[in-house]
Each structure stands twice: as structure tokens, then as C-alpha cells.
């Protein structure tokens, strides 16, 4: 057992760190609050700089613009980006979900054409899965793909689509055969978002930002070559995307919200201002947050060990998201406690709202990428081997919306 880098890893970390130090003026910092193409542009330039230097898509195949490196090397890049204060890469959905899906299921031509600009941030991607009546029960989706010559016409609506307002391309799942059982009649496509049949309408979240969108398809066109996998075989493709999404949110050790270290520095300044009896309570909670953060970090290290030994994390990685959400919510709540009376306002007198913002952000993370409850079902059934719920919808065509009762 050891926590040291191997000599190769040390050399790699040194290289990444030197690059980030030499290019410190180009690092895009701060939290990801841009909501339009103009806001995304500086982060696209930063991703291009990183890509050109060889620090994006470390594990992706060389022939498609990746580096053919190891998962550990990618982890080291992530750690160094975080250390340098870099904001998350602008095309996170492309890199985390759409790309791995195309690598696993796409055609040679699709890989050649789409992966390199995705890595460089030239093409931003979104993931068009959820619908108003199909969230946790994704296979109940109603958006239709209708044969039109060689290609398809897309008709329907998607929702909660992050980054759609500035994405050039999207990964879309739609129903090609409504007469088949609900999981069987689905097909995966890639779609050009910049066409007349696609309307994107931003949706504001409870944080006040508009990261995600409603997307309407009115006979938008998908040519034959944009099919991913088999016609009516989209569910299998979607599983790849969703597994990668859970890893991206819970398993990557990515920074989300305010860190426990930042919280501790804030506590060191603010604790003295609280009444003595409250100080003891906040200290106890601060200790609890540190314990959860350590548990999260070292459980992550066990997954990294598996990765570095060439084993892929299984469905048990889903619990990483559950504990991340618990930790994030607790951290935000302690920050709020430290504000004293200012916790009743939307920001402190100087306009700093990081604790309020973080507090308002976590409910979304408890839902995104598989709700906490869906993740518990997955772990309960695939890891603990517990039987599934009876499924009256299994084998039945999804002819009518199933998400809302009239």
C-alpha cells in the first residue's frame, strides 16, 4: 500500500504542472455560470490550448485525436487542473458521455469526423435523453424518429438538456418503432443542433442560472450516416452513456461545489463570531464534513487503484455519487451556519453568495445523472443481488405518455 506516484507518474505530473504554470495567464478560473455562446467562448479557447498541448482526451485512441494514455494519467491531469484553479472543461458532456459512447458504438467515419473537434472544444456537445414524461424511466421516451428516405425526421421534445444553447451537436435517443416493447424500439443518433427544425429554450434552475434547456424538434433532419449502433438498438447504447455519466459525476474525484478545505478556512475566520454554544455545534459538523470528505477521497483512491491495475469500476461506483451529494449538502449547510444572521439573505453585505449558491446547487446533483433513488436501485440489484421490482411495463409498447396521469 502506498499513495505515491510511480516514477512515470511523477514525471507526467511534473510535465502537466509545468505547462499549467507557464500558461497561468490562460487558465480560465471560477465557477461555471456562463449561459450563452459568448460566455462559453473563453473556455473553448482554454480547452483548445490544453488540447493542442496534449492534455485533453488522455485515454482516447491516438487515431481519433486522443493520447492513448492511461486512466491514471487522466486523473493526474484532472488533479493538476483543479490545483491550478481551472474551471471545468467547457465540453464536459462531450468528453464525459458523448465521446465514450461514440468510441464504443460509433462507425469508423463518425470517430474520424467527430472526436477530434470534440476534444479540442471546437464542437460542443449536448446529451438529448430526458423528456417531460421520461426521466428516471428513460425508456418511456416519446420523441419519434420517422423514416424519411435514407434518413429520419425527428419530432418531439427533450428537457433538462445542459449546454444545448451553445452546442453544435447532440447525442439523441428517439423512438423508431412504437409498436415494439418500450426498451426495444429506441435508436441512438447524433444530430446537428444548428438546423431549422431545432428550437432551444433556456430553463432557469433554482440557482438562478440557466444551464439547461428545453429542446423542441419539429421534423429536424438526421441523415443515415448519423445513426449510432443499430436501428432499434439504442437502449444498449444509452446504457454506455449513462454508466459514463455516473462515473463523471461521482467517480472522477472532480470538484463540485465548495471544498471542505475552503470551508475550513472560512470557519477559522468566522467561528469566533458565533455564540459559544453554537460554536461547539458547528465544530462537530465541521469534523463530520472532514470525515465524509476523507471517506470520499480514500474510497476514490480504491477505485483509482483498480483503474491503475487495469480493472474498470463496476456499478458499485454509483454509491460515490450518493456520498458526494451528502458531503456537498453538509458542506454548504455548515457554510450557511457560519454566516450567522447573514444566512437569512441571498448574499452577504459584500454580495458574496457562494454558500447560498452552493446550497441551491446540490438538490440538482441529487437528481442529475440518475436520482439518488435510481442509483440505490442499481447498486441494490447489480451489486447486492437483490431482486428487481415487478415491472408491469416490461414487454409492453410505450404508446402513450407514462410519466403523467391525466
Amino acid at each position: 500500500m502506498d499513495f505515491d506516484d510511480t516514477p512515470e507518474e511523477t514525471a507526467w505530473r511534473g510535465r502537466v504542472r509545468r505547462f499549467l504554470e507557464e500558461n497561468t495567464d490562460d487558465v480560465v478560473r471560477g465557477r461555471d455560470r456562463h449561459t450563452d455562446a459568448a460566455g462559453a467562448a473563453p473556455r473553448q479557447r482554454w480547452q483548445a490550448t490544453l488540447y493542442d498541448a496534449g492534455y485533453v482526451g488522455i485515454t482516447w485512441p491516438v487515431e481519433y485525436g486522443g493520447r492513448g494514455g492511461t486512466p491514471m494519467q487522466q486523473v493526474i491531469v484532472n488533479q493538476e487542473l483543479s490545483r491550478a484553479g481551472s474551471a471545468p472543461l467547457v465540453n464536459g458532456i462531450g468528453l464525459g458521455m458523448c465521446g465514450p459512447t461514440i468510441i464504443a458504438h460509433g462507425t469508423e467515419e463518425q470517430k474520424q469526423r467527430y472526436l477530434r473537434p470534440m476534444l479540442r472544444g471546437d464542437d460542443i456537445w449536448c446529451q438529448l435523453f430526458s423528456e417531460p414524461a421520461a426521466g428516471s424511466d428513460l425508456a418511456g421516451l416519446q420523441t419519434r424518429a420517422i423514416r424519411d428516405g435514407d434518413g429520419w425526421l425527428i419530432r418531439g421534445q427533450k428537457v433538462w438538456t445542459s449546454a444545448a444553447q451553445y452546442s453544435r451537436l447532440g447525442l439523441l435517443i428517439a423512438r423508431t418503432d412504437p409498436s415494439l416493447p418500450k426498451h426495444a424500439g429506441l435508436t441512438m443518433f447524433l444530430i446537428d443542433m444548428e438546423q431549422p427544425g431545432v428550437t432551444v429554450r433556456p430553463l432557469r434552475q433554482m440557482t438562478g442560472d440557466a444551464h439547461f434547456n428545453e429542446v423542441f424538434f419539429d421534423d429536424a433532419r438526421v441523415p443515415a450516416e448519423n445513426l449510432i449502433g443499430e436501428v432499434d438498438g439504442g437502449w444498449r447504447v444509452a446504457i454506455t452513456t449513462l454508466m459514463n455519466e455516473r462515473l463523471a459525476i461521482g467517480g472522477g474525484g472532480a470538484d463540485m461545489g465548495v471544498s471542505v478545505e475552503t470551508l475550513t478556512r472560512f470557519a477559522a475566520k468566522r467561528l469566533g463570531a458565533l455564540p459559544a454554544d453554537e460554536q461547539a455545534l458547528v465544530r462537530e459538523k465541521l469534523g463530520r464534513a472532514h470525515v465524509l470528505a476523507m471517506a470520499q477521497r480514500y474510497t476514490g483512491y480504491r477505485r483509482l487503484t483498480a483503474l491503475s491495475q487495469g480493472r474498470m469500476p463496476g456499478p458499485e461506483a454509483s454509491v460515490g455519487k450518493l456520498s458526494l451529494v451528502t458531503l456537498g449538502q453538509l458542506t454548504a449547510e455548515i457554510g450557511m451556519s457560519l454566516l450567522g444572521d447573514d444566512a437569512a439573505f441571498g448574499a452577504d453585505a459584500g454580495g458574496d453568495d457562494r454558500w447560498q449558491y452552493s446550497m441551491a446547487m446540490w438538490p440538482g446533483l441529487a437528481i442529475a445523472g440518475g436520482t439518488n433513488e435510481i442509483l440505490r436501485n442499481i447498486v441494490g440489484e447489480r451489486v447486492l443481488g437483490l431482486p428487481g421490482e415487478p415491472r408491469p411495463d416490461k414487454g409492453v409498447p410505450a404508446a402513450a405518455p407514462t410519466g403523467v396521469r391525466a
Binding site: 467561528l271 465541521l286 469534523g287 463530520r288 447486492l384
Partner: protein, 333 residues
């Protein structure tokens, strides 16, 4: 980065699991609650080498590390064993290792061979783990390590919640000095005890999870196995998540004991704080998943619950260790 057990440790884990399953098991606690004596496993425990994990080979031990002891302790915790791993193999052995001279070495030899059962007494009068079976007590007074024979100690007994812990209040007034021991060594030895206890509770919690999951697969209600209901399934997943997080904290703290003294205080407190809550939650959930049968005297669930309710307060409860972690974190700002 290599945060996993090595081949030797995996082997040790397997040996320990088989050994503890063959020597005692939870039924021993039920018998003790009904007045039976503790199972007599001392000689065999010494023979298999679990008491001497941390003791040098020239003193009859196997000179392994705290992580190895944690691996053994997890397996002991699965069966609610009476083996004195926390008090003797962990705490006393760590204190004595830092003591000087032949007198301390002789006591180490006696621990490894099983000829003495040593329990550690702290000055604050906290319940002493393993006091019932102890043949001698080890204490630190004014920087001196002192060993006292059982008949030189004043032992106050109370009714036991978990008799396998053998708790009593102990006061020692006279004994044989074993030399000076530095305050940081006293602290380190206590952290080793905390980690060993957390490791036992990891095994206890993991066994509760197993029992609950097994039962949820078998028991049928409303025409289907109860594990298919999300209310039951989600309880089991929360137990699983707690067990896996606790495992990470126990391994890390155990590793720190031998490799990162600076991180040992915070990691040991983190492991003890998390284990206190995780083992209690798993033991309570295990009863709930079993329903009425889990509430009976005959079922093992109540025995695991007893162990959990006792262990959570030993060597400091979660609140105390959370406060300690906060204090250490704030001191580093």
C-alpha cells in the same frame, strides 16, 4: 497509488476468517449473556499468532504492521469474537514496544505467547476493555509505564451490555515500572487501539449487511422477496455504502500508524467517528430488515446490535472524535 491489500494481507484475511469462524462465533455472546464463561480461546489465539501481530519476532511475534492487525480485527468483528485484539494485541503491544529495557520486552513475550492477558487502564476512569479476563493491567502514570498484577487492582464490575467486551472500571495503585514512555508514544498507542476497534466494527457492520441482504432475498411478503421493495433495498444499499466508506477510513488510518505519523491523529479519529455511527446504523437496520424475528433473543441480530451500542462509546464517541477532527483541521489553517 496502490490503495489495496497486498497478496500476503489477502491471505491473512482468509486465514483469519476461517479461524474466527471455527473459534467462537456470535453464539458465544448469547451464552455469556445467560451466564456462561467466555470461550477459552487464549492458547489457540496465541498459537495462530494473532496476539503477536505487532510484536517483534525475537519476542515471539510476527513483526507485522497495524494494517495487518486491522485485517485480522475485521474478521474478529464479523464473529463478535472475545479475542483481546484492541486492548492487548493493539494497544498494550504498542505501548510496550516503546517501553525500554528487558522488563517491557518480557511482557511483550507474555502477550504473544498468551501467558498474560493485558488490559490498558487510562487515568480518566473510562471502562477498561478486556478487564474481566485480564491477568494484569498496563497504565501510564507521570510518563512511566507500569504493569500491575490483577490482585493489585481495584475492579468494579457492572452488568454487561456486551459481555464479550469484558468491561469494568479499574483502578491501579501499585505495580512494576517498565520505564519511561514518551507522550507521543502514549498517543500513538491509543490511536492504534482506536483503529483496531474501528476495524472490528467494520467486520461487525459488514456481517450485519450480509445478514440483512441474505434475509431480504429469502423472505417473501406480498408475493415477492422483500428485497425487491425499494424501502428494504435502499436500506441495504445505505449499509453497503457505509461499510465501503468505513473500510477506506480504516485502511488509511491503519496505514498512517506505520507510515504517516502526522496524519495518524486525524485519520484515527475519522475512522473511530465513522465506525461508531456506521456500525450502529448497520446493526439497527439489520434488525429492521428482519422484522419480528430480528427482535428475538435467539436471533444473532441482537448480539450485533449489543456490540454496536457498546463499541460506539468506547475510546470516545462520534461527537468527541468529530470535534477532535475539527480541532486538528482548524489548527492547520
Amino acid at each position: 497509488m496502490n490503495f489495496a491489500l497486498d497478496e500476503q494481507q489477502v491471505l491473512l484475511q482468509r486465514t483469519a476468517r476461517e479461524w474466527f469462524e471455527a473459534h467462537g462465533g456470535p453464539a458465544a455472546m448469547r451464552a455469556m449473556l445467560d451466564g456462561a464463561p467466555a470461550p477459552d480461546i487464549g492458547d489457540e489465539l496465541a498459537a495462530v499468532g494473532f496476539l503477536g501481530v505487532l510484536i517483534d519476532d525475537e519476542r515471539g511475534g510476527s513483526a507485522l504492521e497495524v494494517l495487518d492487525l486491522a485485517v485480522v480485527a475485521e474478521e474478529a468483528g464479523r464473529t463478535l469474537s472475545t479475542a483481546p485484539l484492541v486492548g492487548a494485541a493493539g494497544w498494550a503491544a504498542s505501548l510496550l514496544r516503546s517501553g525500554e529495557g528487558e522488563a517491557a520486552a518480557a511482557v511483550l513475550r507474555e502477550i504473544a505467547s498468551g501467558s498474560q492477558r493485558i488490559a490498558v487502564v487510562e487515568e480518566d476512569g473510562a471502562p477498561v476493555i478486556g478487564a474481566h479476563d485480564a491477568t494484569a493491567f498496563l497504565a501510564v502514570g507521570d510518563g512511566d509505564l507500569v504493569v500491575s498484577a490483577r490482585d493489585a487492582a481495584e475492579i468494579t464490575d457492572q452488568r454487561q451490555m456486551d459481555p464479550t467486551r469484558g468491561l469494568a472500571r479499574v483502578r491501579v495503585s501499585r505495580g512494576k515500572p517498565l520505564g519511561r514512555v514518551a507522550p507521543e508514544e502514549v498517543e500513538r498507542a491509543r490511536h492504534v487501539a482506536e483503529v483496531t476497534l474501528a476495524a472490528e466494527d467494520l467486520g461487525t457492520a459488514a456481517r450485519c449487511l450480509e445478514m440483512a441482504v441474505d434475509y431480504a432475498k429469502q423472505r417473501v411478503a406480498f408475493g415477492r422477496p422483500i428485497g425487491s421493495f425499494q424501502a428494504i433495498k435502499h436500506m441495504c444499499v445505505d449499509m453497503f455504502a457505509a461499510v465501503e466508506q468505513l473500510r477506506s477510513l480504516v485502511w488509511y488510518a491503519a496505514w498512517c500508524a506505520d507510515h504517516d505519523p502526522v496524519q495518524l491523529p486525524v485519520s484515527a479519529s475519522a475512522a473511530k467517528a465513522y465506525s461508531a455511527e456506521a456500525v450502529e446504523r448497520c446493526a439497527s437496520t439489520c434488525i429492521q430488515v428482519h422484522g419480528g424475528i430480528g427482535f428475538t433473543w435467539e436471533h444473532d441480530a441482537q448480539l450485533y446490535w449489543r456490540r454496536a451500542k457498546v463499541d460506539r462509546v468506547l475510546l470516545g464517541d462520534a461527537a468527541r472524535h468529530h470535534a477532535r477532527v475539527a480541532e486538528l483541521a482548524l489548527a492547520r489553517v
